[in-house]
Amino acid sequence: MNLLFAPHDSREGGAIPLPARIVGGLCAFLLVALVFAYAFHSLQYHWGWESVYAYRQKFINGWLMTLAISAAALLMSLVIGLCTALAQRSHFLPLRYLSKLYIEGIRGTPLLVQILVFFYVVADAFGVGDRYAVGVITLSLFAGAYISEIIRAGIESVGESQLESGRAIGLTRPQIYRHVVFPQAFRQTLPPLAGQFASLIKDSSLLSIIAVSEFTLNAQEVNAFTYSTLESYLPLAAGYLVLTLPISLLSRRLEKKFRYET
Protein backbone atom coordinates (compact mmCIF):
# COMPACT_ATOMS: atom_id res chain seq x y z
CA MET A 1 0.00 0.00 0.00
CA ASN A 2 1.29 3.41 -0.90
CA LEU A 3 1.31 5.58 2.19
CA LEU A 4 2.49 8.79 0.58
CA PHE A 5 0.54 9.13 -2.65
CA ALA A 6 -3.13 9.35 -3.49
CA PRO A 7 -4.93 9.84 -6.78
CA HIS A 8 -5.36 13.50 -7.68
CA ASP A 9 -9.11 13.56 -7.91
CA SER A 10 -10.30 14.19 -4.38
CA ARG A 11 -13.86 13.32 -5.35
CA GLU A 12 -12.94 9.86 -4.21
CA GLY A 13 -11.97 11.64 -0.99
CA GLY A 14 -13.21 8.94 1.33
CA ALA A 15 -11.08 6.39 -0.44
CA ILE A 16 -7.76 7.45 1.16
CA PRO A 17 -6.99 4.64 3.65
CA LEU A 18 -6.67 5.63 7.29
CA PRO A 19 -2.97 4.70 7.76
CA ALA A 20 -2.06 6.80 4.74
CA ARG A 21 -4.06 9.71 6.13
CA ILE A 22 -2.28 9.43 9.47
CA VAL A 23 1.18 9.19 7.91
CA GLY A 24 0.52 12.08 5.53
CA GLY A 25 -0.96 14.28 8.21
CA LEU A 26 1.85 13.51 10.61
CA CYS A 27 4.49 14.33 7.96
CA ALA A 28 2.88 17.71 7.28
CA PHE A 29 2.53 18.47 10.99
CA LEU A 30 6.13 17.43 11.73
CA LEU A 31 7.52 19.64 8.98
CA VAL A 32 5.69 22.71 10.32
CA ALA A 33 6.54 21.84 13.93
CA LEU A 34 10.21 21.42 13.02
CA VAL A 35 10.49 24.84 11.41
CA PHE A 36 8.82 26.56 14.36
CA ALA A 37 10.67 24.53 16.97
CA TYR A 38 13.94 25.58 15.37
CA ALA A 39 12.86 29.22 15.12
CA PHE A 40 11.76 29.38 18.75
CA HIS A 41 14.83 27.48 19.86
CA SER A 42 17.19 30.01 18.30
CA LEU A 43 15.22 32.91 19.77
CA GLN A 44 17.00 34.52 22.71
CA TYR A 45 13.90 35.24 24.73
CA HIS A 46 13.19 35.16 28.41
CA TRP A 47 9.75 33.59 28.76
CA GLY A 48 7.54 34.91 31.54
CA TRP A 49 4.19 33.16 31.42
CA GLU A 50 3.29 33.86 35.07
CA SER A 51 2.74 37.59 34.62
CA VAL A 52 0.50 36.95 31.61
CA TYR A 53 -1.38 34.14 33.37
CA ALA A 54 -2.40 36.64 36.05
CA TYR A 55 -4.39 38.45 33.36
CA ARG A 56 -6.23 35.33 32.11
CA GLN A 57 -9.64 36.84 32.89
CA LYS A 58 -8.84 39.66 30.46
CA PHE A 59 -8.17 37.13 27.71
CA ILE A 60 -11.42 35.29 28.45
CA ASN A 61 -13.49 38.49 28.47
CA GLY A 62 -11.91 39.65 25.23
CA TRP A 63 -12.41 36.28 23.55
CA LEU A 64 -16.09 36.23 24.52
CA MET A 65 -16.51 39.77 23.21
CA THR A 66 -14.90 38.81 19.90
CA LEU A 67 -17.15 35.76 19.73
CA ALA A 68 -20.26 37.88 20.31
CA ILE A 69 -19.23 40.60 17.86
CA SER A 70 -18.28 38.07 15.18
CA ALA A 71 -21.48 36.05 15.57
CA ALA A 72 -23.66 39.15 15.29
CA ALA A 73 -21.67 40.54 12.36
CA LEU A 74 -21.66 37.14 10.64
CA LEU A 75 -25.45 36.90 10.58
CA MET A 76 -25.92 40.54 9.64
CA SER A 77 -23.32 40.48 6.87
CA LEU A 78 -24.96 37.39 5.38
CA VAL A 79 -28.31 39.18 5.23
CA ILE A 80 -26.71 42.33 3.80
CA GLY A 81 -24.72 40.30 1.28
CA LEU A 82 -27.75 38.35 0.11
CA CYS A 83 -29.91 41.45 -0.24
CA THR A 84 -27.32 43.44 -2.15
CA ALA A 85 -26.45 40.48 -4.37
CA LEU A 86 -30.11 40.27 -5.41
CA ALA A 87 -30.32 44.06 -5.64
CA GLN A 88 -27.45 43.98 -8.12
CA ARG A 89 -29.66 41.91 -10.43
CA SER A 90 -32.70 44.09 -9.79
CA HIS A 91 -34.76 45.51 -12.65
CA PHE A 92 -35.07 48.77 -10.72
CA LEU A 93 -31.96 50.65 -11.81
CA PRO A 94 -31.39 53.03 -8.83
CA LEU A 95 -31.36 50.00 -6.54
CA ARG A 96 -28.93 48.16 -8.82
CA TYR A 97 -26.54 51.11 -8.94
CA LEU A 98 -26.86 51.77 -5.23
CA SER A 99 -25.69 48.27 -4.42
CA LYS A 100 -22.87 48.51 -6.96
CA LEU A 101 -21.80 51.81 -5.38
CA TYR A 102 -21.89 50.21 -1.94
CA ILE A 103 -19.82 47.22 -3.00
CA GLU A 104 -17.15 49.18 -4.84
CA GLY A 105 -17.00 51.85 -2.14
CA ILE A 106 -16.58 49.36 0.68
CA ARG A 107 -14.21 46.99 -1.11
CA GLY A 108 -12.02 49.80 -2.34
CA THR A 109 -11.40 51.53 1.00
CA PRO A 110 -9.59 50.33 4.14
CA LEU A 111 -11.68 48.94 7.00
CA LEU A 112 -9.67 51.10 9.40
CA VAL A 113 -10.89 54.28 7.72
CA GLN A 114 -14.46 52.97 7.53
CA ILE A 115 -14.52 52.25 11.26
CA LEU A 116 -13.17 55.69 12.14
CA VAL A 117 -15.52 57.52 9.75
CA PHE A 118 -18.60 55.51 10.73
CA PHE A 119 -18.01 55.95 14.44
CA TYR A 120 -16.69 59.49 14.74
CA VAL A 121 -18.55 61.08 11.81
CA VAL A 122 -21.65 59.19 10.66
CA ALA A 123 -22.78 57.66 13.97
CA ASP A 124 -21.99 60.92 15.76
CA ALA A 125 -24.16 62.89 13.32
CA PHE A 126 -27.09 60.52 13.86
CA GLY A 127 -26.60 60.51 17.62
CA VAL A 128 -25.59 56.85 17.92
CA GLY A 129 -23.07 56.66 20.73
CA ASP A 130 -22.84 52.92 21.34
CA ARG A 131 -19.45 51.86 20.04
CA TYR A 132 -20.34 48.17 20.11
CA ALA A 133 -23.42 48.63 17.91
CA VAL A 134 -21.51 50.85 15.50
CA GLY A 135 -18.67 48.33 15.46
CA VAL A 136 -20.92 45.41 14.58
CA ILE A 137 -22.71 47.40 11.88
CA THR A 138 -19.47 48.61 10.31
CA LEU A 139 -18.01 45.12 10.32
CA SER A 140 -21.21 43.72 8.80
CA LEU A 141 -21.24 46.35 6.06
CA PHE A 142 -17.60 45.60 5.31
CA ALA A 143 -17.99 41.83 5.12
CA GLY A 144 -21.39 42.17 3.42
CA ALA A 145 -19.79 43.76 0.35
CA TYR A 146 -17.48 40.79 -0.12
CA ILE A 147 -20.23 38.27 0.62
CA SER A 148 -22.45 40.02 -1.90
CA GLU A 149 -19.86 39.45 -4.62
CA ILE A 150 -19.38 35.83 -3.55
CA ILE A 151 -23.13 35.19 -3.74
CA ARG A 152 -23.41 37.02 -7.06
CA ALA A 153 -20.63 34.87 -8.49
CA GLY A 154 -22.46 31.79 -7.19
CA ILE A 155 -25.73 32.86 -8.79
CA GLU A 156 -24.06 33.70 -12.09
CA SER A 157 -22.27 30.37 -12.17
CA VAL A 158 -25.66 28.83 -12.94
CA GLY A 159 -25.85 28.92 -16.72
CA GLU A 160 -28.33 31.05 -18.62
CA SER A 161 -29.65 27.92 -20.35
CA GLN A 162 -30.89 26.58 -17.00
CA LEU A 163 -32.85 29.77 -16.34
CA GLU A 164 -34.34 29.51 -19.82
CA SER A 165 -35.24 25.88 -19.19
CA GLY A 166 -36.90 26.94 -15.94
CA ARG A 167 -38.93 29.57 -17.74
CA ALA A 168 -39.76 27.06 -20.47
CA ILE A 169 -41.38 24.67 -17.99
CA GLY A 170 -43.38 27.53 -16.58
CA LEU A 171 -41.56 28.37 -13.35
CA THR A 172 -41.93 31.91 -11.99
CA ARG A 173 -38.85 34.01 -11.21
CA PRO A 174 -38.94 33.27 -7.43
CA GLN A 175 -39.44 29.59 -8.22
CA ILE A 176 -36.43 29.54 -10.53
CA TYR A 177 -34.31 31.10 -7.77
CA ARG A 178 -35.69 28.75 -5.13
CA HIS A 179 -35.43 25.47 -7.03
CA VAL A 180 -32.77 26.00 -9.70
CA VAL A 181 -30.34 28.78 -8.78
CA PHE A 182 -29.94 28.72 -4.99
CA PRO A 183 -29.23 24.98 -4.50
CA GLN A 184 -26.40 25.16 -7.03
CA ALA A 185 -25.17 28.59 -5.97
CA PHE A 186 -25.09 27.47 -2.34
CA ARG A 187 -22.46 24.80 -2.93
CA GLN A 188 -20.40 27.11 -5.14
CA THR A 189 -20.32 29.83 -2.50
CA LEU A 190 -19.49 27.66 0.52
CA PRO A 191 -15.66 27.62 0.31
CA PRO A 192 -15.21 31.37 -0.36
CA LEU A 193 -17.92 32.14 2.20
CA ALA A 194 -16.09 30.14 4.88
CA GLY A 195 -12.92 32.08 4.03
CA GLN A 196 -14.79 35.37 4.26
CA PHE A 197 -16.23 34.45 7.65
CA ALA A 198 -12.77 33.58 8.97
CA SER A 199 -11.54 36.96 7.69
CA LEU A 200 -14.46 38.68 9.40
CA ILE A 201 -13.50 37.15 12.73
CA LYS A 202 -9.92 38.33 12.35
CA ASP A 203 -10.97 41.74 11.01
CA SER A 204 -13.01 42.32 14.16
CA SER A 205 -9.66 43.04 15.82
CA LEU A 206 -9.61 46.40 14.04
CA LEU A 207 -12.54 47.53 16.16
CA SER A 208 -9.97 48.06 18.91
CA ILE A 209 -9.25 51.50 17.41
CA ILE A 210 -12.62 52.73 18.66
CA ALA A 211 -11.95 51.18 22.08
CA VAL A 212 -14.17 48.13 21.58
CA SER A 213 -12.73 45.87 24.22
CA GLU A 214 -12.31 42.75 22.09
CA PHE A 215 -9.73 39.94 22.07
CA THR A 216 -6.86 41.69 20.30
CA LEU A 217 -7.14 44.89 22.33
CA ASN A 218 -7.14 42.90 25.56
CA ALA A 219 -4.06 40.95 24.48
CA GLN A 220 -2.35 44.22 23.50
CA GLU A 221 -3.22 45.66 26.89
CA VAL A 222 -1.74 42.66 28.66
CA ASN A 223 1.35 43.11 26.51
CA ALA A 224 1.49 46.78 27.49
CA PHE A 225 1.19 45.93 31.18
CA THR A 226 3.58 42.96 31.29
CA TYR A 227 5.96 43.65 28.36
CA SER A 228 5.63 39.97 27.42
CA THR A 229 4.91 40.21 23.71
CA LEU A 230 5.00 36.58 22.64
CA GLU A 231 3.29 35.35 25.80
CA SER A 232 0.42 37.74 25.07
CA TYR A 233 0.14 37.13 21.34
CA LEU A 234 0.54 33.34 21.10
CA PRO A 235 -2.65 32.75 23.15
CA LEU A 236 -4.25 35.36 20.89
CA ALA A 237 -3.43 33.30 17.80
CA ALA A 238 -4.72 30.14 19.46
CA GLY A 239 -7.93 31.92 20.48
CA TYR A 240 -8.64 33.02 16.92
CA LEU A 241 -7.87 29.55 15.59
CA VAL A 242 -10.48 28.11 17.96
CA LEU A 243 -13.01 30.45 16.38
CA THR A 244 -12.05 30.01 12.73
CA LEU A 245 -11.40 26.26 12.59
CA PRO A 246 -15.01 25.19 13.30
CA ILE A 247 -16.16 27.41 10.43
CA SER A 248 -13.91 25.77 7.87
CA LEU A 249 -14.73 22.30 9.24
CA LEU A 250 -18.45 23.01 9.03
CA SER A 251 -18.04 24.33 5.50
CA ARG A 252 -16.19 21.15 4.44
CA ARG A 253 -18.93 19.01 5.91
CA LEU A 254 -21.70 20.99 4.20
CA GLU A 255 -19.80 20.83 0.91
CA LYS A 256 -19.66 17.07 1.13
CA LYS A 257 -23.30 16.86 2.07
CA PHE A 258 -24.48 18.91 -0.87
CA ARG A 259 -22.09 17.34 -3.35
CA TYR A 260 -24.50 14.69 -4.60
CA GLU A 261 -27.63 16.75 -4.38
CA THR A 262 -26.64 19.09 -7.14
Binding site: V35, Y38, A39, S42, L43, Q44, Y45, H46, L116, Y120, D124, G129, R131, S208, I209, I210, A211, S213, L217, Q220, E221, N223, A224, F225, Y227, T229
Partner: protein
Protein backbone atom coordinates in the same frame (compact mmCIF):
# COMPACT_ATOMS: atom_id res chain seq x y z
CA UNK B 1 2.75 14.17 -14.57
CA UNK B 2 6.15 12.58 -14.11
CA UNK B 3 7.76 15.88 -14.88
CA UNK B 4 5.87 17.54 -12.04
CA UNK B 5 6.86 14.83 -9.63
CA UNK B 6 10.55 15.09 -10.57
CA UNK B 7 10.41 18.83 -10.21
CA UNK B 8 8.82 18.47 -6.82
CA UNK B 9 11.41 15.99 -5.60
CA UNK B 10 14.18 18.28 -6.86
CA UNK B 11 12.61 21.15 -5.04
CA UNK B 12 12.48 18.91 -1.98
CA UNK B 13 16.29 18.79 -2.13
CA UNK B 14 16.88 22.48 -1.62
CA UNK B 15 13.70 23.49 0.12
CA UNK B 16 14.86 22.58 3.67
CA UNK B 17 18.12 24.42 3.01
CA UNK B 18 16.23 27.48 1.91
CA UNK B 19 13.98 27.32 4.94
CA UNK B 20 16.95 26.95 7.27
CA UNK B 21 18.67 29.92 5.63
CA UNK B 22 15.53 32.00 5.96
CA UNK B 23 15.08 31.15 9.63
CA UNK B 24 18.76 31.80 10.29
CA UNK B 25 18.72 35.20 8.59
CA UNK B 26 15.70 36.23 10.67
CA UNK B 27 17.24 34.98 13.88
CA UNK B 28 20.48 36.89 13.37
CA UNK B 29 18.96 40.09 11.98
CA UNK B 30 20.09 42.35 14.78
CA UNK B 31 20.26 45.97 13.83
CA UNK B 32 23.08 47.01 16.09
CA UNK B 33 26.59 47.36 14.76
CA UNK B 34 29.65 48.28 16.80
CA UNK B 35 29.75 51.95 15.90
CA UNK B 36 26.04 52.67 15.58
CA UNK B 37 23.37 53.06 18.22
CA UNK B 38 19.81 52.21 17.24
CA UNK B 39 17.39 54.48 19.10
CA UNK B 40 13.76 53.41 19.19
CA UNK B 41 10.89 55.86 19.46
CA UNK B 42 7.31 56.31 18.31
CA UNK B 43 7.25 59.29 15.97
CA UNK B 44 3.72 60.29 16.94
CA UNK B 45 4.22 62.59 19.88
CA UNK B 46 4.97 66.12 18.77
CA UNK B 47 6.97 68.10 19.53
CA UNK B 48 9.11 65.39 21.14
CA UNK B 49 8.96 62.67 18.52
CA UNK B 50 7.56 63.55 15.09
CA UNK B 51 8.41 63.70 11.41
CA UNK B 52 8.96 66.80 9.29
CA UNK B 53 7.10 67.41 6.04
CA UNK B 54 9.64 65.31 4.16
CA UNK B 55 9.11 62.37 6.54
CA UNK B 56 12.43 62.74 8.37
CA UNK B 57 12.36 62.18 12.14
CA UNK B 58 12.54 65.38 14.12
CA UNK B 59 11.70 66.74 17.57
CA UNK B 60 13.24 67.08 21.02
CA UNK B 61 14.03 63.37 21.41
CA UNK B 62 15.51 63.11 17.93
CA UNK B 63 17.85 66.05 18.58
CA UNK B 64 18.68 64.57 21.97
CA UNK B 65 19.57 61.25 20.33
CA UNK B 66 21.87 62.93 17.82
CA UNK B 67 23.54 64.95 20.58
CA UNK B 68 24.12 61.70 22.44
CA UNK B 69 25.65 60.22 19.29
CA UNK B 70 28.02 63.19 19.01
CA UNK B 71 28.97 62.83 22.68
CA UNK B 72 29.73 59.10 22.34
CA UNK B 73 31.21 59.33 18.85
CA UNK B 74 28.67 56.92 17.41
CA UNK B 75 26.32 57.00 14.48
CA UNK B 76 22.64 57.24 15.46
CA UNK B 77 19.89 55.35 13.64
CA UNK B 78 16.31 56.30 14.56
CA UNK B 79 13.88 53.39 14.49
CA UNK B 80 10.18 54.31 14.44
CA UNK B 81 7.89 51.80 16.14
CA UNK B 82 4.67 51.62 18.15
CA UNK B 83 5.09 52.74 21.75
CA UNK B 84 4.04 49.41 23.28
CA UNK B 85 6.54 47.62 21.02
CA UNK B 86 9.53 49.61 22.29
CA UNK B 87 10.33 47.58 25.39
CA UNK B 88 10.06 44.17 23.66
CA UNK B 89 12.31 45.53 20.88
CA UNK B 90 14.86 46.71 23.43
CA UNK B 91 14.75 43.40 25.29
CA UNK B 92 15.33 41.37 22.13
CA UNK B 93 18.20 43.60 21.01
CA UNK B 94 16.46 45.08 17.96
CA UNK B 95 17.19 48.55 19.36
CA UNK B 96 19.84 49.79 21.80
CA UNK B 97 18.07 52.69 23.52
CA UNK B 98 14.58 54.06 24.00
CA UNK B 99 14.21 57.84 23.85
CA UNK B 100 10.48 58.20 23.44
CA UNK B 101 9.16 60.41 26.25
CA UNK B 102 8.98 57.24 28.31
CA UNK B 103 8.16 57.54 31.99
CA UNK B 104 10.53 55.67 34.26
CA UNK B 105 8.28 53.65 36.57
CA UNK B 106 8.61 50.56 38.72
CA UNK B 107 6.77 48.16 36.36
CA UNK B 108 8.93 49.07 33.41
CA UNK B 109 12.07 49.04 35.56
CA UNK B 110 11.45 45.34 36.14
CA UNK B 111 12.17 44.57 32.48
CA UNK B 112 14.55 47.35 31.48
CA UNK B 113 16.94 49.85 33.08
CA UNK B 114 16.52 53.61 32.99
CA UNK B 115 19.01 56.48 32.86
CA UNK B 116 18.69 59.46 35.21
CA UNK B 117 15.47 61.36 34.51
CA UNK B 118 15.74 64.23 32.03
CA UNK B 119 12.25 65.72 32.23
CA UNK B 120 9.57 65.89 34.88
CA UNK B 121 5.88 66.06 34.19
CA UNK B 122 2.67 64.58 35.57
CA UNK B 123 -0.62 62.99 34.65
CA UNK B 124 -3.55 65.36 34.32
CA UNK B 125 -6.95 65.61 32.68
CA UNK B 126 -8.53 66.88 29.50
CA UNK B 127 -12.30 67.18 30.05
CA UNK B 128 -15.28 68.48 28.10
CA UNK B 129 -15.76 72.28 28.18
CA UNK B 130 -18.99 72.14 30.17
CA UNK B 131 -18.11 69.07 32.19
CA UNK B 132 -18.72 69.36 35.94
CA UNK B 133 -15.57 67.29 36.60
CA UNK B 134 -13.16 69.20 38.85
CA UNK B 135 -10.51 66.57 39.41
CA UNK B 136 -9.66 62.93 39.31
CA UNK B 137 -11.90 62.18 42.32
CA UNK B 138 -15.04 63.18 40.41
CA UNK B 139 -14.20 60.74 37.67
CA UNK B 140 -14.31 57.38 39.36
CA UNK B 141 -18.09 57.11 39.33
CA UNK B 142 -20.39 54.56 37.72
CA UNK B 143 -21.52 55.74 34.30
CA UNK B 144 -18.42 57.82 33.64
CA UNK B 145 -15.96 56.79 30.95
CA UNK B 146 -12.31 57.75 30.86
CA UNK B 147 -10.16 57.61 27.73
CA UNK B 148 -6.51 56.53 27.89
CA UNK B 149 -3.83 55.82 25.29
CA UNK B 150 -2.78 52.18 25.19
CA UNK B 151 0.48 51.39 26.96
CA UNK B 152 0.94 54.82 28.55
CA UNK B 153 1.33 55.46 32.27
CA UNK B 154 -2.18 56.94 32.17
CA UNK B 155 -3.44 53.56 30.97
CA UNK B 156 -1.65 51.73 33.77
CA UNK B 157 -2.85 54.25 36.34
CA UNK B 158 -6.47 53.96 35.19
CA UNK B 159 -6.31 50.17 35.18
CA UNK B 160 -5.15 50.18 38.78
CA UNK B 161 -7.06 53.08 40.29
CA UNK B 162 -10.34 53.51 38.44
CA UNK B 163 -12.70 50.91 39.84
CA UNK B 164 -16.14 52.26 38.97
CA UNK B 165 -15.61 54.27 35.79
CA UNK B 166 -15.34 52.60 32.38
CA UNK B 167 -11.86 52.82 30.85
CA UNK B 168 -11.74 53.32 27.07
CA UNK B 169 -8.41 52.11 25.70
CA UNK B 170 -7.46 53.83 22.44
CA UNK B 171 -4.58 53.31 20.07
CA UNK B 172 -4.10 56.91 19.08
CA UNK B 173 -3.86 60.09 21.09
CA UNK B 174 -5.98 61.90 18.47
CA UNK B 175 -8.81 59.39 18.89
CA UNK B 176 -8.77 59.83 22.66
CA UNK B 177 -9.01 63.62 22.25
CA UNK B 178 -11.89 63.15 19.81
CA UNK B 179 -13.73 61.03 22.38
CA UNK B 180 -13.62 63.97 24.79
CA UNK B 181 -14.45 66.53 22.09
CA UNK B 182 -17.56 64.58 21.08
CA UNK B 183 -18.56 63.95 24.69
CA UNK B 184 -18.20 60.18 24.36
CA UNK B 185 -15.63 60.14 27.16
CA UNK B 186 -15.71 62.32 30.26
CA UNK B 187 -11.95 62.76 30.42
CA UNK B 188 -8.64 61.81 28.82
CA UNK B 189 -5.78 61.00 31.18
CA UNK B 190 -2.47 62.12 29.69
CA UNK B 191 0.68 64.07 30.49
CA UNK B 192 0.63 67.81 31.16
CA UNK B 193 2.32 69.08 28.04
CA UNK B 194 0.20 67.09 25.59
CA UNK B 195 -2.94 67.88 27.53
CA UNK B 196 -2.10 71.56 27.29
CA UNK B 197 -1.57 71.25 23.54
CA UNK B 198 -4.76 69.26 23.01
CA UNK B 199 -6.69 71.87 24.94
CA UNK B 200 -5.14 74.67 22.84
CA UNK B 201 -6.23 72.90 19.68
CA UNK B 202 -9.80 72.33 20.92
CA UNK B 203 -10.58 75.37 23.04
CA UNK B 204 -14.22 75.50 21.95
CA UNK B 205 -15.00 72.00 23.20
CA UNK B 206 -12.48 71.08 25.91
CA UNK B 207 -10.93 72.28 29.13
CA UNK B 208 -7.63 71.20 30.69
CA UNK B 209 -7.19 70.41 34.38
CA UNK B 210 -3.41 70.70 34.40
CA UNK B 211 -2.83 70.12 38.11
CA UNK B 212 -0.97 66.80 38.11
CA UNK B 213 -2.51 64.05 40.26
CA UNK B 214 0.49 61.82 39.66
CA UNK B 215 4.06 63.07 39.18
CA UNK B 216 6.39 61.25 36.84
CA UNK B 217 9.66 61.73 35.04
CA UNK B 218 10.99 60.66 31.68
CA UNK B 219 14.24 58.78 31.17
CA UNK B 220 16.21 56.92 28.52
CA UNK B 221 15.49 53.17 28.40
CA UNK B 222 18.52 50.85 28.38
CA UNK B 223 18.69 47.05 28.20
CA UNK B 224 19.37 45.31 31.51
CA UNK B 225 22.99 44.32 32.03
CA UNK B 226 24.19 47.21 29.87
CA UNK B 227 25.53 49.25 32.80
CA UNK B 228 28.40 50.65 30.77
CA UNK B 229 26.08 52.31 28.28
CA UNK B 230 23.90 53.53 31.13
CA UNK B 231 26.86 55.29 32.75
CA UNK B 232 27.74 56.94 29.44
CA UNK B 233 24.16 58.10 28.86
CA UNK B 234 24.01 59.57 32.38
CA UNK B 235 27.30 61.37 31.80
CA UNK B 236 25.92 62.77 28.57
CA UNK B 237 22.65 63.95 30.18
CA UNK B 238 24.56 65.77 32.95
CA UNK B 239 26.95 67.35 30.46
CA UNK B 240 24.13 68.32 28.09
CA UNK B 241 22.24 70.01 30.89
CA UNK B 242 25.37 71.89 32.03
CA UNK B 243 25.93 73.15 28.50
CA UNK B 244 22.36 74.50 28.44
CA UNK B 245 21.31 71.99 25.81
CA UNK B 246 17.91 71.24 27.33
CA UNK B 247 17.22 74.95 27.69
CA UNK B 248 17.98 75.38 24.00
CA UNK B 249 15.75 72.46 22.95
CA UNK B 250 12.94 73.81 25.11
CA UNK B 251 13.18 77.24 23.45
CA UNK B 252 13.32 75.65 20.03
CA UNK B 253 10.36 73.28 20.33
CA UNK B 254 8.33 74.22 23.40
CA UNK B 255 8.52 77.99 23.76
CA UNK B 256 4.77 78.52 24.03
CA UNK B 257 4.23 75.73 26.57
CA UNK B 258 7.14 76.88 28.68
CA UNK B 259 5.72 80.35 29.02
CA UNK B 260 2.20 79.11 29.60
CA UNK B 261 3.31 76.73 32.35
CA UNK B 262 5.33 79.49 33.97
CA UNK B 263 2.25 81.72 33.93
CA UNK B 264 0.07 78.95 35.39
CA UNK B 265 2.63 78.31 38.08
CA UNK B 266 3.29 74.66 37.22
CA UNK B 267 6.83 73.37 37.32
CA UNK B 268 8.33 72.74 33.93
CA UNK B 269 11.79 71.50 33.37
CA UNK B 270 13.37 69.92 30.40
Amino acid sequence: MNLVRTLLSRAGGWLPGLLAALVLSIATAHAAGRDTLVVGMELAYPPFEMTDTAGRPTGVSVDLAHELGKFLGKKIVIQNMAFDGLIPALKTGKIDLIISSMTANAERARSIDFSDPYLSTGLCLLVGKDSPVKGIKDLDQPGRSVAVKKGTTGHAWAGKNLKKARVLVLDKEAAAVLEVVQGKADAFIYDQMSTYQNWQKNQATTRAILEPFQKESWAVGIRKGNGDLRKKVNAFLADFRKRGGFERLGDQYLKEQKEAFKKLGYPFYL
